[in-house]
């Protein structure tokens, strides 16, 4: 086992895959000469040269479309958005082109492409640079959405995403790039898409969380454990297709659930999880499903307000105790 930063794990996944398959290339703003805005692609230009690690103008709509065209013609692009907040200027490329052409062409074209980059809040970046996009892209039939929580998951899931023949939106986090974690040394370590991870088993309450919220979930589980309750923590890993079976099985055991979700609450992934639970495990619920989410407002700039805006561990802990009726 090697201890890697999240950015190193992502880089390792891309490097290993690019060494394996010449059709794979990386394209995006500052990915080459500058070694990546967050140093994710550090050294990759030197290793693979300018034909496979390509800097672009500040033109998301353009280079996203370029990547999609390349995928249509048999290459396997990795398109990096400096942040997913910038993906919105390329929204039509993702919503209408990459997600739907396979369907509209009767399967003549496939899109082995990954769109990756940091997602969600990253501190005092104010309203337009703190958006969590999970539900936007997961909403679209034709797109897969992955959100790893640990360096190891980042590596294993990104390798699976690159090898997938359909478009995958791969959500990382600025805040987590420096995070260190043990990463498997296993040759060609891959984690399958669409499989949730039961991080910690328990019978008192099910906590579902991904990305940064995964760490809130672990903290809450620790606090509950001090109170004498074993929480089951589930990291979905893949947002779509989501592994609802694992969540439902857990609910059947714990009879209650708290979802922690960094998105704004309305029509979010946590809404969908809560809906699926009530539809598939209604008779197993002993309490309403609770969510702890970002507040339903644009992200504020002031630090104190931003802290309040984000899902809080205290709130998640309280929510768990409420659904446990303790």
């Amino acid at each position: 086992m090697a201890e890697l930063q999240f950015r190193e794990a992502i880089r390792a996944a891309m490097t290993e895959e690019m060494e394996r398959d010449e059709d794979i290339f990386l394209i995006g703003e500052e990915v080459a000469e500058y070694d990546g805005a967050y140093k994710v692609s550090q050294g990759m230009l030197d290793q693979f040269g300018p034909k496979r690690v390509i800097d672009t103008p500040i033109s998301e709509n353009g280079f996203a479309g370029l990547g999609i065209g390349a995928a249509m013609n048999g290459l396997r692009p990795i398109v990096e958005f400096m942040t997913f907040n910038f993906s919105f200027v390329a929204f039509d490329q993702l919503l209408n082109n990459v997600a739907k052409i396979r369907y509209m062409s009767g399967g003549q074209f496939s899109f082995p492409i990954v769109f990756r980059g940091p997602n969600g809040a990253a501190g005092q970046l104010a309203a337009t640079h703190n958006t969590s996009v999970e539900s936007f892209y997961a909403h679209i039939p034709g797109l897969k959405v992955v959100s790893p929580s640990t360096p190891e998951d980042g590596k294993g899931l990104l390798k699976a995403a690159i090898r997938d023949d359909d478009p995958v939106v791969f959500l990382e986090s600025e805040r987590m790039y420096g995070l260190k974690g043990e990463v498997s040394d296993e040759d060609d370590f891959i984690l399958p898409l669409g499989k949730a991870h039961i991080v910690q088993e328990g019978d008192a309450v099910t906590i579902v969380a991904n990305g940064k919220d995964y760490y809130i979930a672990l903290e809450v589980a620790d606090r509950l454990s001090e109170d004498g309750y074993q929480a089951e923590v589930i990291d979905p890993r893949t947002i779509r297709p989501m592994d609802f079976d694992t969540i439902i099985e857990s609910i059947k055991k714990t009879n209650r659930c708290v979802v922690i979700d960094e998105s704004n609450p309305f029509a979010s992934i946590s809404s969908e999880i809560a809906f699926q639970i009530q539809e598939r495990a209604f008779d197993y619920l002993d309490a309403p499903v609770k969510r702890v989410t970002a507040k339903d407002v644009p992200a504020p700039y002031a630090k104190n307000l931003m802290d309040y805006y984000m899902p809080q561990a205290d709130d998640a802990y309280e929510a768990c105790r409420q659904v446990m009726y303790v």
């Binding site: 609770k290 339903d296 709130d315």
Partner: protein
């Protein structure tokens, strides 16, 4: 200026009304005279009108809720108006209906608190809003409509184990029955004496089947049932009853009725029943005995001899019984009495009688003759002093001029409130009544 709409007194015996159905929604623009709800009183289901113009700002009670007279039902006013003062004013009361209003009011600020997020319908502060949920644990699981609050899991466990969830106390927010409550109830049941189960195995199968059957069906008390219970108990407890029975020769009434009904057929009028004739006979007899046509009114400190004769006729309906009133029956002809009685009884069965049509009787009759009841005693319908219980007309051998001949007889029993009517007074009335019935031509005079 917001205007409170409170529960009006819709009949003189009404103490509370059940809001059966809302016919207007919050936000509706209303004018004076608009019907906003239906209210079930002890006697009938009636429309509730508003007396002012305005927007319906708030429905304070829910459908199915029983509300005391004077308790707040709704608030009218101008769009957006602050109604907290009115809610507070009515919230101070301590009656059940008002307690509800207070609760509804208490919820308001919470909703506002949760509303910090912006102008749409923000969903933020979900945790903040729900923190208040466990404010009142472990009290009432069922709301006023009898709905039991239980988690889906609790319901499933209860039904799988054939536990009646209504018998379980809830420990969750607002008394919600949750898993641990059902499990505790199961433990209690399992811990219950084993011998109760043991002999069951030895019993014959058919006995076991009977034991499995439901023992009873619970029927919620209707307003009418409650009223019957209250008023008749009050009558029997406060008015010292005594009973006088007299046997009446109905030979002539029978032939008299036959004749006038032959006429009725020719003239296509409603037929006249024995009961109509008895109503008329009572009315005429009461004119001669005002002390029987009376009431003992303790509060007013007086006995009232009524100068008009209004006969209440007990009518059995599905939910109980009502007594529509034939007003001034002494001055009405038999045909009118017959027609009115039939019409009122018909509407009584449909529960369409207005309260005033059931109020103000000075004397009551109750007839069970059609069931073959020979004689019975009735409970006085307060505030009247007397009620006449009418039995069946029987074919009977009677002695006439020393010979046994076939005859027609009917027993009537007068229940008298001894505070007003003494034995001789009641007997005098019965004697007069009998003379009218035994010579019915006098009724025509």
């Amino acid at each position: 200026m917001a205007i409170p709409v409170d529960m009006p007194k819709l009949s003189d015996t009404m103490e509370e009304g059940v809001l059966v159905a809302w016919l207007a929604d919050e936000g509706d623009e209303l004018s004076a005279g608009d019907v906003i709800a239906q209210v079930e009183t002890d006697k009938a289901t009636m429309d509730l009108e508003v007396f002012d113009d305005g927007v319906l700002l708030k429905k304070v009670v829910e459908e199915g809720e029983a509300v005391d007279i004077g308790a707040l039902i709704a608030v009218l006013g101008e769009e957006g108006e602050d109604i907290s003062d009115i809610l507070a004013e009515f919230g101070e009361g301590d009656s059940d209906g008002k307690a509800e209003a207070q609760e509804a009011e208490d919820e308001e600020p919470e909703a506002e608190e949760a509303d910090v997020g912006g102008d749409g319908a923000p969903e933020d502060a979900e945790v903040v809003a729900s923190e208040t949920e466990d404010a009142t644990p472990g009290t009432v699981a069922a709301d006023d409509n009898g709905r039991i609050k239980a988690s889906p899991l609790a319901r499933r466990i209860a039904s799988e184990n054939e536990l009646d969830i209504a018998q379980i106390d809830g420990s969750g927010p607002h008394g919600r029955i949750i898993k641990r409550d059902v499990e505790a109830a199961l433990e209690d049941r399992d811990a219950a004496p084993a011998e109760r189960k043991a002999p069951a195995k030895e019993r014959r199968a058919d006995v076991a089947t009977i034991e499995d059957e439901e023992f009873y069906e619970a029927i919620p008390l209707s307003q009418m049932r409650k009223t019957i219970a209250r008023r008749l108990a009050e009558s029997k407890y406060t008015a010292p009853h005594f009973y006088l029975t007299i046997d009446v020769d109905m030979e002539r009434v029978v032939s008299f009725r036959k004749k006038i009904n032959e006429l009725a057929e020719e003239q296509e009028r409603a037929k006249i029943s024995f009961n109509d004739i008895i109503t008329k006979a009572c009315a005429v007899a009461l004119r001669e005995h005002p002390e029987v046509n009376s009431a003992y009114l303790e509060k007013e400190g007086e006995i009232r001899h009524y100068k008009q004769v209004h006969i209440g006729v007990a009518v059995a309906i599905d939910e109980g019984l009502v007594t529509p009133v034939i007003r001034n029956a002494d001055r009405k002809g038999l045909a009118t009495i017959a027609e009115e009685t039939r019409e009122l009884a018909g509407r009584a069965r449909d529960r369409k009688l207005a309260p005033e049509e059931m109020e103000g009787s000075t004397f009551t009759t109750s007839n069970l003759g059609m069931f073959g009841i020979e004689e019975f005693t009735a409970i006085i319908n307060p505030p009247s002093a007397c009620i006449l219980a009418i039995g069946a007309i029987r074919d009977e051998p009677v002695v006439q001029d020393g010979e046994i001949v076939p005859g027609k007889r009917m027993k009537v029993t007068l229940s008298c409130d001894h505070r007003v009517v003494d034995g001789a007074v009641g007997s005098g009335f019965l004697s007069t009544l009998r003379s009218f019935l035994e010579d019915p031509m006098n009724l025509l005079l």
